[in-house]
């Protein structure tokens, strides 16, 4: 398929020199499915290469990298966290010269309203969430999704009285899935992943806060060439297809 | 015969001929089985004497309801208490190491029982204070048990047991934790206190002296059975088992009497061994005589003693201002002699010696 071709193209230069070794990718937890799928592809294309994926919260990964984690690639769920790494351990200078000082954005995500499957509070748009009788879960302002939430509520000029400010989007989604809250603001990708348990509701103001996922090759990467090849794969059409299938937007 | 020397006659209530305690205790603890029958009159003190593991504590615990019976009954003042739970039995217990509550003052320890019976704090404390005063412990009322001497702790434990006004008082080796010099005083005091108690009392002890001084009657328990009962004097004079004989320091033999001749039962019965006694008996008997009744001679004496045996010295030990000589031969024997006599006789282990016992000194009684 086209995706396969793109993948081969992306890794083509590396395979000619017969690459081998272990590529270590640290990625935001929300990328678990997509990156796991891409890793299989990458390994198939580069026999002898092994991809090690470590998923965790972006900020925990940033801490690890700044503490000297021997990793090659960092894919963050937001630009702020990437900035922490750029200021700290830094990106591979050669790679950064080509792809940008702050890494390359490979995916975007927008907010949706998630409600339990039966939508008990009858939520239809963002303004409904300002009603005190609608228990709403938001993300904490410290985490990227919370920042995005603040941006859209500003734009929409609604004030939402949340019952909780969750540590990550996943936690918001859990509360919605279990029916603990009537609604939550989550990413489109999360609604897609949750299947039938929740229903996603689009709202027009979501465009005002587009969350960007940057990726970069790290300074001191043990395998800078493989790392570059991986980033190329993520940015390729193959990557884009996988991301789209998971509900991400692509830049 | 000072069997009971009239000191404290059991005073049954008018018209009531039921004993204050009437119990048949049967129980099993692992391999061990206990089967004893106890009757104690009002105001009477019964001592349970016996070796380690005989079942004395088990019997006491069964009376208190702390271990279940497999069979039998416990009646106190005619009322059946066999299945009454511990906390509702009319029983007071003084434990071997007293088990005073360390976090309470002496007064609160004594007031604990009355409080549990539902008395108000003030009334309970007043009763406790009165009891402590009666035991000369007013000055120690506010002390924690840790600051009491052994004798004081024992009296507090007794006061605590008496504070619930029990009909049955149980004492498990109340003197065991005391040192020898205070024991004499404490024993005398305990006697006075027991005399004032009008219910039945059962006292477990290892020490024959305690039994002698404190009890009206002694029951000797061995391997879960009562092997002898009687007044302290009777038991001391006419022991029925080697354990009791050893305890009271007598030489004891079991045998068959024909007139004034007793043939002693022996495992290896090659040559019969005969003890001559003073009064004639027939059939199964026991013969007992104290070590001081045994005279020793280096050469065969020609005199009045009717019992004369050739034995071998096994060992010698000093015992008070006497020397106790252990003899072996057809039958083992102990003899108490003076150190001067020892030196004169030159008794070393292995030396042969003649032992003489007057027939009048050998007490003989049905076995």
């Amino acid at each position: 398929s086209a995706a396969d071709d793109a993948g081969r193209d992306g890794a083509g230069t590396a395979s000619e020199t017969g690459p081998a070794g272990t590529l270590t990718v640290l990625a935001a937890a929300s990328l678990t499915d997509v990156f796991t799928e891409l890793a299989e592809e990458f390994e198939a294309d580069n026999p002898g290469v092994e991809v090690e994926l470590s998923f965790a919260g972006s900020s925990a990964l940033a801490t690890q990298i700044n503490s000297g984690a021997p990793a090659d690639v960092f894919a963050s769920a937001n630009t702020d966290t990437m900035a922490l790494v750029v200021d700290g351990a830094g990106l591979d200078t050669a790679w950064a010269a080509d792809h940008g000082e702050d890494g390359g954005v490979f995916a975007t995500n927008t907010l949706r309203i998630a409600v339990p499957a039966d939508n008990p509070a009858g939520v239809e748009d963002l303004a409904d969430l300002s009603d005190d009788s609608v228990a709403t879960a938001l993300s904490a302002p410290e985490v990227p999704c919370g920042a995005a939430t603040a941006a859209v509520t500003d734009t929409a000029d609604v004030e939402i009285a949340a019952v909780t400010l969750e540590q990550d989007v996943r936690a918001v989604l859990t509360k919605v899935e279990l029916g603990e809250v009537d609604a939550g603001l989550v990413y489109a990708t999360d609604v897609a992943a949750a299947g039938d348990a929740v229903e996603g509701i689009d709202f027009p103001e979501s465009g005002s806060a587009v969350n960007e996922y940057p990726v970069g090759v790290l300074a001191g990467a043990p395998e800078p060439e493989l790392a570059a090849a991986w980033v190329d794969l993520v940015l390729s059409d193959t990557g884009a297809d996988a991301l789209t299938a998971a509900g991400f937007g692509t830049p | 015969m000072t069997t009971n020397d009239g000191r404290r006659a059991p005073a049954p209530r008018p018209g009531a001929d039921v004993p204050a305690l009437d119990a048949r205790l049967r129980l099993a603890r692992g391999d061990f089985t206990l089967d004893v029958t106890l009757e104690v009159a009002e105001g009477e003190v019964l001592a349970l004497l016996g070796p380690n593991g005989a079942g004395k504590s088990s019997a006491l615990r069964a009376l208190a309801g702390l271990v279940p019976l497999t069979d039998g009954h416990v009646r106190v003042g005619g009322r059946d208490e066999t299945t009454t739970p511990v906390e509702r039995r009319p029983v007071g217990v003084v434990f071997q190491d007293y088990l005073l509550f360390r976090h309470m003052s002496a007064l609160d320890n004594v007031a604990f029982g009355p409080r549990c019976q539902g008395l108000s704090k003030a009334v309970a404390r007043a009763r406790a204070a009165e009891l402590l005063e009666g035991m000369d412990l007013s000055a120690q009322a506010r002390s924690r048990p840790g600051r009491l001497s052994g004798g004081q702790a024992q009296r507090v434990a007794l006061a605590r047991a008496l504070a619930v006004r029990p009909r049955l008082l149980l004492l498990d080796e109340p003197m065991a934790a005391l040192d020898a010099s205070t024991r004499v005083d404490v024993r005398a005091r305990l006697r006075h206190l027991l005399e004032d108690f009008d219910g039945a009392a059962v006292l477990v002890t290892h020490d024959p002296l305690d039994a002698m001084v404190l009890a009206d009657r002694v029951a000797v328990v061995e391997s879960g059975r009562i092997v002898q009962q009687g007044t302290p004097a009777e038991v001391a004079r006419r022991p029925r088992t080697p354990y009791v004989a050893r305890l009271v320091g007598l030489n004891l033999f079991r045998g068959t009497a024909e007139g004034t001749e007793v043939t002693v039962d022996r495992r290896d019965a090659r040559a019969p061994w005969v003890v001559h006694v003073h009064e004639p008996h027939e059939g199964e008997v026991l013969v007992a005589f104290p070590p001081r009744a045994v005279a020793l001679y280096a050469d065969r004496p020609h005199g009045s003693p009717r019992n004369l045996w050739r034995l071998t010295v096994d060992g010698v030990e000093r015992f008070g201002d006497q020397v106790r000589v252990h003899l072996v031969g057809p039958m083992p024997l102990s003899a108490d002699i003076s150190p001067a006599a020892l030196a004169e006789l030159g008794l070393v282990p292995g030396a042969p010696v003649w032992a003489a016992v007057k027939a009048a000194e050998a007490e003989c009684y049905p076995g």
Binding site: T63, A137, L165, E166 | V86, V91, H103
Partner: protein, 271 residues
């Protein structure tokens, strides 16, 4: 053979020797293991900003919430856990071994899953929660009460295990003595057993309190994270971590210092 003249004055201590290195070395390694990470935190702390942070009302409110919920949780653990420990140590019932193993469940289960489990039971649609809601209009999640419940869940094992150990150490004959004095089992427990195990209960409560204070996963899942009502210090630390790891370190240290002060103050009495 000349004998040295005995020294006068201070104790003629038979040189008892210092602890042997074969024990001392691992023990010191153990201490290092506990202290070094703390040192790492201390070294990387931006002390300059410390003052400003610990007077920040948001921090103070989280600290206060933490201290009060941990204390409340410890109280609940005492009320429920001490009788449970007593049951495990004293009563003889079928399945005791299973219950004893069940007590360690909250240790093994990842706290976040514990939080989910609490939601499944006490949440708005939970097994019990739905009835609480329907009958009493009571919803627990996202309240301060939920914080306490989450802490009780994770901290209870510490109390139960400590107190049960202490109860096993108690000489049961004192309890028998109390029974012969007419005390029923409740009185025996309250007036004899409990006073005797007080040190063990104290040690257990201290562990329990420390664990409740540090609780994060179950709390954020079951009680959510709302400043003032459910955001305890560990949650505040986590949030700070997302943006400003240095701030997170400072907040952790504040939490740590407060709890060390409390524990060092209390533990001396019990051991």
């Amino acid at each position: 053979m000349t004998t040295p003249a005995p020294t006068r004055g201070r104790a003629l201590r038979a040189r008892s020797g210092r602890p042997p290195w074969i024990l001392l070395v691992p023990a010191l390694l153990g201490v290092a293991f506990l202290v070094l990470p703390l040192l790492g935190l201390l070294v990387s702390t931006p002390w300059a900003t410390m003052g400003a942070r610990i007077t920040d009302p948001a921090v103070l409110s989280a600290l206060w919430l933490s201290l009060s919920t941990a204390t409340a949780a410890t109280a609940v653990c005492l009320v429920l856990g001490v009788p449970l420990a007593w049951l495990l140590a004293r009563a003889d019932f079928p399945g005791r071994r299973l219950v004893r193993a069940l007590v360690t469940v909250p240790l093994v289960i990842p706290p976040v899953v514990g939080g989910v489990a609490l939601l499944l039971v006490l949440g708005r649609n939970g097994l019990l929660g739905r009835h609480l809601d329907a009958w009493f209009g009571l919803t627990l999640p996202f309240t301060t009460a939920a914080v306490v419940i989450a802490q009780v869940f994770v901290a209870m094992p510490f109390l139960v295990v400590s107190v049960e150990g202490a109860l096993r150490g108690v000489d049961a004959r004192f309890e028998e003595a109390a029974a012969t004095l007419g005390a029923n089992r409740t009185t025996v427990f309250a007036r004899v057993t409990l006073p005797m195990v007080l040190p063990g209960v104290g040690a257990g409560a201290a562990l329990c309190w420390a664990r409740a204070l540090g609780e994060f996963g179950a709390t954020i899942t079951f009680a959510g994270n709302f400043p003032g009502t459910t955001q305890t210090m560990p949650l505040a630390v986590y949030m700070a971590m997302q943006r400003d790891p240095e701030a997170a370190v400072v907040l952790s240290l504040v939490l740590l210092i407060v709890s060390l002060a409390v524990l060092a103050g209390l533990r001396g009495r019990w051991t």
